[in-house]
């Protein structure tokens, strides 16, 4: 144990500890300005701690915690978006206080929950124990349930209720799947904690009972898939996005879906390592395509701007799950890249949408027109964001879609047809709505935006750069993970 490894351990601990401490503080502290700043500061500190993971040596995987290539990507992305969202949240929440939609008491609750949610997500990423991971994912889910319902309007409560009921069933499924994995591992690895340690499971998975693993995977896929928002398990997602505060929508789309996806991926790796178990690919591809096409069509009839982008998240999760289901270095690379790009872009879009709906006082699409004229910075930001999410270059989503479509075509030509079809249908819907919102005779309030553009544009710039230039170390690293994922 030298100093640097000690320091590393500290980094992991910091990632977990900072949010907990901050949550406690925030729950106790009054005053909006200070709490918002503390929230931002805590998120920034977490981000810094996460970045430390890069420079320092990684700890040996323990019984509970693990840092490897795969989860560093998720952690850094998570803490980064968590930080920018907290920035956005500060300016968003100020406005909510002014209009009286939230009370200061709500706010304390909100900020504390925000940090607990960050804690849950970080814990889910670093946990090496499938039981612990389950607990962490559920913690994050339950905190978001509470935040979705924070406005106490009856739509918000409905949304939260729906989220809660469907989420609970998902929780149950995931737990059952976890138990089954334990049962499969127990004869080989031995009773007790060891049979839940992911690194040990992966090493010995070849000896596990394949059929048990199969059933387990089905439950895990459905259980965590509920949180990923895969069709037909998606029902909670649009409403939760639409009715909660926008920073939470951004976090839901940008981060929570990733957490669930990460869990699915971990088990996918596990199953793929077992030679006799069913390959998880076809299942994931089917659900991915179903989500993509379903969400693409659902985009057309949307009247609420946030709900529409929520469906777009379902669509993109479908793409990502499809990519990982297809497997192979190219598709996995595309899936990873797409996931990162989607998180950045979608949260940027929600940042824009948050300000827009505050200015216009509504989320109805038909009430928002001509944004590029009245609010050029926001409007063009939205245009760039939607263009990016729709897969137009030179944004990063284009690169991942390019890789995915072409590698699909090379490997499973027939699957490329529904994939391209879904992409095109979704594209049509997104651009149709964008045309309505960003252009035309302006409608609604024209008062200037009291917004911080930094979070939105920092995301967009990153996405733009990624579309043109990916630094070689990052690429090598992604490739390594892609190979890890098989």
């Amino acid at each position: 144990m030298n100093a640097s490894s000690l320091f590393t351990f500290d980094a992991v601990a910091a990632i977990l500890a900072i949010p907990v401490v901050a949550a406690t503080l925030l729950a106790l502290m009054p005053g909006y300005k200070v709490t918002a700043r503390v929230n931002v500061a805590a998120s920034l500190l977490t981000l810094v701690a996460a970045l430390c993971l890069f420079v320092t040596e990684r700890p040996e995987p323990g019984r509970y915690l693990l840092v490897d290539d795969l989860n560093i990507v998720f952690i850094v992305l998570n803490t980064f978006v968590g930080f920018t969202t907290s920035l956005f949240s500060a300016s968003y929440i100020a406005h909510e206080l002014e209009t009286g939609r939230l009370t200061p008491a709500n706010l304390r609750f909100y900020h504390a929950m925000y940090q607990i949610m960050m804690f849950g997500m970080n814990l889910a990423f670093v946990s090496n124990n499938i039981g612990l991971m389950w607990v962490a994912v559920e913690l994050a889910t339950l905190t978001t349930v509470l935040m979705v319902g924070i406005y106490r309007t009856h739509e918000a409560l409905e949304a939260a209720w729906k989220y809660f009921i469907l989420g609970s069933v998902g929780i149950a499924f995931a737990l059952f799947g976890t138990i089954l994995v334990y049962l499969a591992a127990q004869p080989v690895v031995g009773e007790g904690y060891d049979a839940m340690v992911w690194t040990l499971l992966v090493e010995r998975v070849a000896d596990f009972d394949p059929a048990l693993l199969n059933v387990a995977f089905i439950f895990l896929l459905l259980g965590y898939g509920t949180k990923v928002g895969l069709a037909p398990l998606h029902a909670w997602l649009p409403d939760a996005h639409a009715e909660g505060p926008t920073p939470i929508s951004a976090v839901l789309s940008g981060l929570l879906l990733n957490v669930a996806l990460y869990a699915v991926l971990r088990f996918k790796i596990l199953l793929a390592a077992s030679p006799e178990a069913i390959s998880p690919g076809p299942l994931m591809m089917t659900m991915g395509l179903a989500s993509l096409i379903f969400a693409a069509f659902m985009l057309y009839r949307r009247r609420d701007i946030k709900r529409m982008f929520a469906y777009s998240s379902i669509e993109h999760m479908g793409i990502i799950v499809f990519a990982f289901g297809l497997g192979g270095p190219l598709a996995n690379f595309a899936g990873l890249l797409h996931m990162v790009m989607h998180s950045l872009t979608k949260s940027a879009i929600f940042f824009a949408v948050g300000h827009i709906s505050q200015i216009k006082g509504t989320q109805r699409l038909s009430a928002i027109r001509g944004l590029t004229e009245t609010h050029p910075v926001l409007g063009w930001g939205l245009v760039i964001g939607v263009a990016a999410i729709a897969g137009l270059p030179p944004m990063g989503v284009f690169m991942s879609e390019f890789l995915l479509v072409s590698s699909t075509f090379a490997r499973q030509p027939l699957l490329a047809v529904p994939l391209v079809f879904g992409l095109l249908v979704a594209f049509g819907a997104l651009l149709l709505r964008l045309t309505g919102v960003a252009f035309g005779q302006p409608r609604g309030s024209r008062k200037p935006a009291d917004a911080s553009y930094l979070p939105m544009y920092s995301h967009l710039v990153l996405v733009l750069i990624a579309g043109i230039y990916l630094p070689p170390p990052l690429v090598a690293w992604f490739q390594h993970i892609a190979n890890l994922l098989r």
């Binding site: 209720w161 009921i165 469907l166 499924f173 199969n214 059933v215 089905i218 459905l222 509920t226 037909p232 398990l233 029902a235 909670w236 649009p238 069913i278 379903f294 069509f297 659902m298 057309y300 009839r301 190219l330 001509g370 590029t372 004229e373 263009a387 729709a390 897969g391 137009l392 270059p393 030179p394 284009f398 690169m399 390019f402 890789l403 479509v405 072409s406 590698s407 075509f409 090379a410 490997r411 490329a416 391209v420 992409l423 095109l424 249908v425 594209f427 049509g428 819907a429 651009l431 045309t435 309505g436 252009f439 035309g440 005779q441 043109i468 230039y469 990916l470 070689p472 690429v475 490739q479």
Partner: protein, 671 residues
């Protein structure tokens, strides 16, 4: 290497100009600065392309930058084909910038045009420079995006928004098709570099699929029927100099993509691919110009005419494919030269015509021909240059349009040596369609010029118009000069195209600059030859001679008098022949079939005072037969699926439950 670098620097400079435009768009100086910069950069790029084409270096310059796809890098290459198209693009870009210097001052929302204009140019340049699939598609889609933003410049008009939407969706559709084509060519290992694709052998099935995907992908951008519907909406929606770029240049970039993939990357496609391209090309030509003839919006008419010209280009390409497959290099070179020459010519006269239409639009505020008239008196220079453009696009000697169509006809006459019976029989018929489209084009542009510029003004704005500004006039005049030059000295262009045809079909046309009197000879002089220069001189000389003789020896007296009114004094200018009535005979002949046109005349019985009524009903069969059903189907599915948004929680749970049971069943039955 250096030339590629220069080109890339030009692209970078254009992008920098775009960025500059974002920040200074609202300043007064923005218009001259941005267009001035674009003009000079495009001129440099044009010069580079010209040098590359005229004296190609022994080794094709390539360059790799560590951008884009990480393990691939961004590859750029500047072979003669690319050089030729760069030349077309940057020449068009330079003229559009020059025109924009004047035209841009009338723009009421310059901040929506200026940033995207240089970006659009940069995108087109990049497409042509790209030497790997990713860079190609990235630039391709970037080009679409930039032009989409330009189409949306006047976004308050609902028509424009609709046009922009249709455009971007079709563009994306095309890109996905191209993406699939590249996916096929790259093979399972993902060899996305063009160099790797060139070296690979592709199965006949793959090449066939690539052709179809290419016709969809590049064809939708170029405007091939039935993927053309966006074009006549989107091109006119943009500011006129952008319309000129989109119609005159961007469609050429699509042609470039088609040529690059089919002739360069695929190698030798099957013989029927030539047939397919020929049929689609000739159909596109005829349908495009028929639409143009029915159109009363000046700019939209020009956009439809672009479709026709693209059809002509594709006929040339189809012939080249067929000849190449049959191993007839010379004939293939002839056909390819015709196609490329027409590409160049079309970029000249279509830019010119759009500039003219733009000048009319700024000075009268009208695009509707029925509200113009008599502009030749108020805008003499614009009218003259527009007339030159009309003659050139109608394929009339001695202008350039004729030279390239003449080459296409000569290529058609090489068809008896083709081994396939289907081709030998069909190619002359295609030639007939080509001739039909040329004749219809003449009718179309007689109508356009005659209605808009001749006769008496039909509205006050037309009567009070003034001549366009000097920048616009300069751009139009130079282009008119180029139309004439390319028409009377086609040999120079043909010789310049030789390295391109050598690259693509492995042959070239005979050296033309050595021919006596600068005539052009496709194969041998005894077969056919044409000398535009002499034709021009002869006509000019004999017209001058006759006029001189008549004026000298016969009479030179002239008197102005009212026109013959047939005993019915004409009350106003609206009683002139209108654009609609001019097109009526053609509509009756062709329109009943192509547009299902129906005319209904309600003639009141004699003695009643109610006015007679004329009602015309036309259908765009492609739109109604293909696009509306697709839109309807998407809407229907969306509507049906939309019920899923409003289910109760219990029903959602049922879905989850069913999914679980289904998966368990699958598992139970699987092993």
């Amino acid at each position: 290497m250096t030339s590629v670098l220069v080109m890339l620097l030009c692209v970078a400079a254009l992008l920098a100009t775009a960025a500059l435009a974002v920040f200074m768009a609202r300043s007064k100086q923005a218009t001259p600065v941005i267009y001035g910069l674009s003009l000079s950069i495009a001129a440099v790029a044009f010069a580079t392309g010209l040098v590359q084409l005229v004296s190609p270096p022994a080794e094709v310059p390539i360059l790799m930058l560590p951008f884009s796809l990480p393990w691939l890098g961004a590859h750029f290459r500047l072979d003669p084909l690319a050089a030729f198209f760069l030349l077309v693009v940057d020449l068009g870009g330079a003229f559009a910038s020059l025109y924009g210097l004047g035209y841009g001052r009338h723009e009421h929302a310059p901040h929506r045009v200026l940033p995207f204009f240089p970006a659009f140019l940069a995108g087109m340049n990049l497409v042509i420079l790209a030497d790997d699939a990713f860079t190609f598609l990235l630039s391709w889609e970037f080009m679409s995006l930039a032009s989409w933003a330009l189409v949306m410049a006047h976004h308050r008009d609902a028509e424009n928004r609709r046009a922009g939407y249709l455009y971007i969706v079709m563009a994306s559709f095309g890109t996905l098709a191209l993406l699939l084509a590249f996916g096929l060519l790259a093979g399972p290992d993902g060899a996305y570099g063009f160099a790797a694709m060139r070296g690979m052998d592709h199965t006949p099935l793959a090449t066939g699929l690539v052709l179809v995907l290419l016709l969809v992908g590049a064809g939708s951008k170029a405007g091939l029927v039935p993927l053309h519907v966006w074009l006549p909406l989107a091109h006119p929606a943009a500011p006129s100099h952008v319309s000129a770029l989109m119609s005159g240049v961007m469609t050429k970039v699509a042609v470039y993509g088609f040529i690059r993939v089919l002739f360069d990357l695929v190698g030798t496609p099957a013989w029927w691919s030539g047939l397919l391209v020929l049929l689609i090309g000739s159909g596109t030509a005829v349908l495009g110009i028929l639409h143009a003839l029915m159109e009363r919006d000046l700019k939209r008419m020009l956009a439809y005419s672009t479709i026709e010209n693209i059809g002509v280009v594709f006929v040339g390409l189809g012939l080249a494919l067929a000849f190449k497959d049959a191993g007839m290099e010379l004939a293939a070179a002839l056909a390819m030269t015709a196609a490329l020459f027409h590409v160049l010519n079309h970029s000249f006269f279509k830019s010119l015509l759009f500039f003219g239409a733009g000048a009319v639009l700024t000075r009268t505020g009208e695009r509707d021909m029925e509200k113009l008239g008599g502009l030749i008196h108020r805008m003499p220079v614009t009218a003259f240059t527009f007339l030159v453009g009309c003659m050139a696009i109608s394929a009339l000697p001695p202008f350039n349009g004729f030279a390239s169509e003449w080459l296409a006809f000569q290529a058609i006459l090489q068809s008896p040596d083709l081994p396939q019976w289907a081709l030998t029989i069909l190619v002359p018929a295609v030639g007939g369609l080509l001739a039909l489209s040329a004749a219809l084009a003449a009718a179309c542009f007689v109508r356009a010029f005659g209605i808009a510029f001749l006769g008496r003004p039909r509205t006050d704005p037309a009567a009070n118009a003034s001549e366009a500004d000097r920048f616009s006039l300069a751009a139009m005049s130079i282009l008119a000069g180029l139309c004439l030059l390319a028409g009377i000295l086609p040999g120079i262009v043909i010789d310049a195209l030789a390295p391109v045809t050598q690259l693509l079909v492995g042959g070239r046309m005979p050296v033309q600059t050595d021919m006596p009197w600068l005539s052009i000879v496709p194969v041998t002089e005894s077969r056919s030859s044409y000398n535009g220069l002499l034709v021009f001189l002869f006509i000019g000389f004999s017209a001058w001679l006759t006029a001189g003789l008549v004026h000298r020896f016969a009479s030179r007296a002239l008197r102005r008098a009212p026109a013959w009114d047939c005993g019915f004094p004409q009350i106003d200018a609206t009683m002139q022949y209108s654009a609609g009535s001019f097109a009526q005979p053609v509509r009756r002949v062709f329109g009943t079939l192509v547009f299902r046109a129906r005319e209904r005349v309600d003639m009141p019985p004699p003695g009643t005072l109610s006015p007679a009524r004329f009602a015309l009903e036309t259908h765009d069969l492609v739109w109604e037969g293909l696009y509306l059903p697709i839109a309807g189907a998407v809407g229907y599915v969306a509507e049906k699926l939309n019920y899923l948004q409003f289910l109760t929680i219990r029903r959602y749970l049922s879905l989850v439950f069913l999914a679980l049971v289904l998966l368990l069943l699958v598992l139970a039955l699987w092993s």
